[in-house]
Symmetry: C2
Subunit: 250 residues, 2 copies
Amino acid sequence: MSRPTTVTAAVLVIGDEILSGRTKDRNLGYIAEYLANIGVDVREARVVPDVEDEIVAAVNALRARYDYLITTGGIGPTHDDITADSIGRAFGVPVGEDPRAIAIMLERYAPADLTPARRRMARMPEGAELIENPISRAPGFRIGNVYVLAGVPAVMQAMLDFAVKSMKTGALMRVEVIAAGSLPEGLYGEALGRIASAHPNVAIGSYPSFRDGRFNNQIVVRGKDEEAVAAARRAVEEMVAALSRNAVAS
Amino acid sequence: MSRPTTVTAAVLVIGDEILSGRTKDRNLGYIAEYLANIGVDVREARVVPDVEDEIVAAVNALRARYDYLITTGGIGPTHDDITADSIGRAFGVPVGEDPRAIAIMLERYAPADLTPARRRMARMPEGAELIENPISRAPGFRIGNVYVLAGVPAVMQAMLDFAVKSMKTGALMRVEVIAAGSLPEGLYGEALGRIASAHPNVAIGSYPSFRDGRFNNQIVVRGKDEEAVAAARRAVEEMVAALSRNAVAS
């Protein structure tokens, strides 16, 4: 059997408004789930402010390390939208007005309405490919392995649908969720650790949530090998069943 | 007048479940808003998986660069909870069972119920100070400028209330929000850029949201100098009023 292929990605959220807490990011979770479902594993995410040096450093660190980097934010028409220029600097290429982007924007705006601010949205690093924006037309772009998307979730999501068409994808992650309910992590932690050691080809996590004064636990088995995931799931289910019987009996 | 003091922080979210998209992070937004309200500016955030090398690298990068680092996640009783050990390695100090943590946990658990898995939660890097956990008792900790909190939001929030007591705080960020409504960014982008250039002591951002097929824009002025923020706010308000009259007149 061939080894399941792995394709990795990072997400870079760009914007002061996320770091001030004023806007709660919804893009990372959406992108992570979307990419997981097509066989691209998000391995890291960062949030940086609207500061060119910070964006450049993060882009260069992340694009070197993962197959893909998805950025969100900073491609609008105002002075604080500096993502295109930052990406150009990260790649060491000039940034200029892209005639293809202007042509697309002229489908929405009359020439007189294509203000200098709007023309900013047509600035692209040299060599970039455009990413369609069916919502408000001004495109995102891809350069190298970096996909540059809008920050507004509805626009980002539409761009992502287009962007993924050019990504290679790996084997899908198989995910099995076993409900542990109110069985305490402290009672199954040791046994789960032994199961994790015995099943090295999967990742096993235990995730508590807390609601109405009670913990509710889930155990998640993840991996690319279907049989390995199934075997680990059975071991976890048997452990939970055995410990639950003990808990009731005691 | 003395220069407003600035205190900075970074947030490190630790956990495979955030990067898989299965769990949507709610801690970053909460911490960012909470710290902003007490005069601590969050300048960067990262999300890393439950992998020791990744946690160590991120902790060392962020604690060197900012006044404080807040981590969330990975301090429970299961094998995938490796934050304490990772922090110990980042600081180059041994990690062992802390008698103070054991004593606190014995207030909740009978000695026979203090399983080896639960005892894992008492593992602390040498020199750490405990952070109280009024929800489920097992404490977080602080070492140097790093605060290590739980990942479950209710527990993290309770720990944060305790953690901030030992933080120095800077001048509060003043934030003014000016509604631009449906006035397009592309119509005010140039004028706003000129205002931003003329008011270098504040940060001005323009934030569109998109709902029910329409954009709704807000302009945000942020800064530590109350007079500078007020002056920039007035300039933005006058610009929005003037452009809105033009838009109606045209």
